[in-house]
């Protein structure tokens, strides 16, 4: 047998300990968690393996591990853990660690470690928005100006919408490439044929738009209709509703901002899609998760990190301020009121985008489906290799 030197990293152990409430050091490797996990596969079960990797600080293995993203915190592991070591919470901590591991700027790590750093970062971005606004539009609307004159949609596009889109695009793409490098390219054991990247693309889309793995958390033999009736799909459907609403609003606001500021050619589509569906989804979803986090009745809401709170609160405030802004425009409020509501809305929206999307909890929206995609790629490639060998 070849001797291998295992590199361990004590700082990593401390970091994982800091960013979550798992007692992973208490784990005695009984394997109950992997055995009861409804999501882990036969070939690479989790989270027992992650418990020991974290306990020993095995950074190399952890950074290349996609499994934390395949875990949806169903909570069966934590419920059944004989050591109360909270393996589900460890997987959550590892997602926080991985977000900071893919982020080459090092910002995530600071934000995850200290809630004050996060508050300050949010304040800085909000102030930046205020200054930028003041430069572009001044701090008061000119007397008698129409909304379009006071807050030019073109300028919003040029100086807010498009820069943030480019910024987020560059950041997320580079982080996801980093993730690809660490999890797929680093694995010398698998060579992925180019064709697979296209043929497996469906899994990326499917998982993003259905988040079907949440539904698989309950692996009892009940029928789907019964699960639906007894509320076992509530979390999944609420989360899906929130994500879809978010995506609809994001796409709408980034690419069709005019629609929100003036009359548009398809008023009913707008009213149904944005004013009702997406607005309700955003508010209902965020309130639902806040209630879950406050009542702590289900495993996945038992522990809340400051980044969890910040994300859901910013999302809620963004939604509320956006709805107020939209209402003010639709109901022809005085231009000066709209002007101020607009500033407040952007001062909430931009910290949410700049801080949460690449550096904090929002990023799971990107990493989760990408991880499933990567995992599928690796699995398919392995089975292809096996066929060739045999």
């Amino acid at each position: 047998m070849k001797n291998t030197v295992i590199k361990t990293d004590n700082e990593l152990i401390e970091y994982i300990n800091e960013v979550g409430e798992s007692n992973f050091k208490k784990c005695f490797q009984c394997g109950t968690c992997s055995a009861v996990c409804p999501l882990s596969t036969e070939d690479r079960p989790f989270p027992r393996k992650e418990m020991i990797l974290a306990g020993w600080g095995m950074k190399e293995q952890l950074v290349s591990d996609l499994d934390p993203w395949l875990c949806y915190y169903c909570g069966e592991c934590s419920k059944n853990c004989p050591r109360k070591a909270e393996p589900g919470e460890l997987m959550m901590s590892l997602r926080r660690f991985l977000i900071s591991a893919y982020d080459w700027t090092g910002i995530s790590k600071i934000l995850y470690k200290s809630k004050y750093a996060e508050y300050i970062a949010i304040l800085i971005v909000a102030l930046g928005v205020l200054i930028e606004w003041a430069v572009l539009f001044g701090l008061h609307p000119a007397a008698g100006a129409t909304l379009e004159q006071a807050v030019s949609p073109d300028k919003i596009d040029y100086f807010f919408d498009w820069p943030i889109t480019v910024f987020l695009g560059v950041m997320l793409t580079s982080f996801i490439y980093n993730m690809f490098r660490k999890t797929v390219l680093s694995d010398r054991g698998v060579k992925i044929p180019l064709k697979l990247y296209f043929t497996e693309g469906w899994s990326l889309m499917f998982n993003f738009f259905t988040q079907y793995r949440y539904a698989k958390c309950d692996d009892s033999e009940e029928s789907s209709s019964k699960k639906l009736a007894t509320g076992k799909y509530n979390f999944w459907l609420t989360h899906l509703f929130l994500v879809i609403s978010y995506v609809i609003l994001f796409v709408g606001i980034v690419f069709f901002l005019d629609w929100f500021q003036a009359e548009n050619s398809l008023p009913y589509l707008h009213i149904i899609l944005f004013d009702y569906f997406a607005s309700i989804g955003l508010i209902f979803g965020t309130v639902y998760f806040v209630i879950k986090r406050l009542t702590k009745k289900i495993e996945r809401s038992k522990f809340s990190h400051h980044t969890d709170w910040m994300f859901v609160i910013l999302l809620f405030l963004t939604g509320v301020s956006g709805i107020i802004l939209r209402a003010a425009i639709v109901y022809n409020f005085p231009v000066s009121s709209i002007f101020y509501i607009y500033i407040v809305h952007l001062m909430i929206l931009f910290p949410m985008l700049v801080i949460e999307v690449p550096f904090s909890k929002w990023s799971h929206l990107a990493y989760r489906p990408v991880a499933i995609y990567f995992a599928n790629l690796k699995e398919k490639a392995k089975s292809l290799n096996n066929v060739e060998i045999s």
Partner: protein, 432 residues
């Protein structure tokens, strides 16, 4: 040798292996009376329900018979037995030394005339679940509670006997041994010392919902396995599974069923690893085609018990899986069981199919519940730890413990703890 204060007797609560051993050690060493109060209608406790002891794999009767012989020969009647009895009150005696004990003894329907001829049971019409075999078979309402019952006589189960409306057993008994009108006795004693030797019961594994005990017939416990293997058990020593009485070979042993689990018993029960290894050997001995598999976290076979582990490991038909079972489901058609488990050494998750599952139920201390039923004078100090074991000996007050009342122990170590308790009693009663 110093003189012993033998004015008052010693009370030993529990007539199992530890209680009897302590009683013998005291009475064989010094001239002092001992009362053993035993809840069950016979002396011997849980060891009598074993098929074999580890590590020597000898049946419990030989050791028990030696104890009975010692009781009869060397102690000159210094050990008194109160069977079917429970301590109700423990009070400090007014003069400041020793305790006043109130004991309630269930009616003794059968006296010492009994010759265990068995005519009464033949006449009896009522069945009862046989607790000696963990309810896997039945006896009549008048029955011999264990194969080597001591004191040797039948007993009556009050919950199933029809008493005055039947009385068939009384009619057929030729020895005037039965009196169904017997009344309960209240016995009051003054004692100098108390030894708690209250023993254990298997943990209620129904609480481990994932493992399906109580839901699936072929999921049994380790103590039931002892009875299935025993020649005097419900299957006459053939290991047959409950659902269809099929002889089983592919049996899964699941370790730490309740033990080392902070949601259940946070401590290690100490005996289950050896017990499962032993039971895997029963299977191998009785069925050469059998393939027992032991699912474990880590195997705890300290000291010389390691040899026993090596013996089991050297049998290639005994399989070991590091990783305990997370979930069990049943194949409703065959009654076989499907186990969800990770094989940690290979890092793969598997579905293991077994004909029968034996849960290594942990040891739950009786004392925890027993103390609720005893009225104890406020001034008497009995220290119970968070798991329900007595953790402190009260040398000043003369209150000691032996066996599993202290912590999980095997038979051999229980014997040692009994000797230790006996020595403490003697030291406590030395006249200075």
């Amino acid at each position: 040798m110093s003189e012993i204060n033998n004015e008052n007797p010693v009370l030993i609560i529990g007539g199992g292996h530890s209680g009897v051993s302590a009683a013998l050690e005291i009475t064989e060493s010094v001239d002092k009376e001992v009362y053993i109060v035993e809840k069950r209608p016979y002396i011997g406790g849980r060891v009598l329900q074993m098929y074999k002891y580890f590590p020597k794999l000898c049946p419990p009767f030989c050791g028990f018979e030696i104890n009975i012989k010692r009781i009869k020969s060397s102690t000159e009647g210094n050990i008194k037995f109160l069977i079917s009895s429970e301590v109700e009150e423990i009070n400090k005696d007014k003069d400041g030394t020793g305790y006043k004990i109130k004991i309630r003894q269930k009616p003794q329907y059968i006296n010492d005339n009994c010759t265990i001829c068995g005519e009464c049971a033949k006449a009896c019409l009522e069945d009862r679940p046989n607790d000696f075999n963990y309810d896997m078979d039945t006896t009549k309402a008048i029955y011999l509670p264990a194969i080597s019952t001591f004191p040797l006589k039948y007993t009556v189960d009050e919950n199933y006997c029809k008493f005055s409306s039947c009385k068939k057993c009384e009619e057929v008994c030729k020895y005037n041994a039965i009196n169904l009108n017997a009344q309960e006795n209240i016995i009051e004693l003054k004692v100098s010392d108390i030894i708690f030797a209250t023993g254990w019961k298997p943990y209620n594994v129904e609480k481990l919902e994932n493992l399906g005990y109580g839901k699936f017939k072929n999921v049994i416990t380790n103590v039931m396995m002892e009875r299935l293997a025993a020649d005097n058990g419900p299957t006459n020593g053939k290991i047959l599974r409950p659902s269809d009485n099929k002889e089983v070979g592919n049996v899964a042993f699941i370790q730490c069923a309740g033990s080392r689990n902070e949601n259940h018993l946070p401590y290690c029960s100490a005996i289950c690893c050896m017990a499962s290894l032993k039971q895997a050997l029963y299977l191998r001995e009785k069925n050469s085609a059998s393939t027992p598999t032991i699912f474990y976290i880590d195997l705890r076979t300290p000291g010389r018990y390691e040899n026993f582990l090596n013996k089991a490991v050297s049998d290639k038909n005994i399989k070991f899986n590091k990783g305990v079972v997370g979930k069990i489901s049943e194949d409703h058609m065959t009654g076989d069981l499907l186990l969800d488990v990770e094989d940690i050494l290979s890092g793969k998750k598997i579905k293991f199919k077994a004909e029968m599952v034996v849960l290594a139920a942990g040891m739950y201390p009786n004392i925890k519940d027993d103390l609720n039923g005893i009225k104890i004078d406020g001034g008497i100090k009995i220290d119970i730890d968070e798991n329900g074991f007595i953790f402190n000996e009260n040398f000043e007050g003369g209150i000691f413990s032996a066996g599993v009342a202290k912590f999980p122990l095997d038979v051999y170590m229980s014997g040692q703890s009994a000797t230790s308790a006996a020595l403490s009693v003697i030291q406590h009663n030395v006249k200075l």
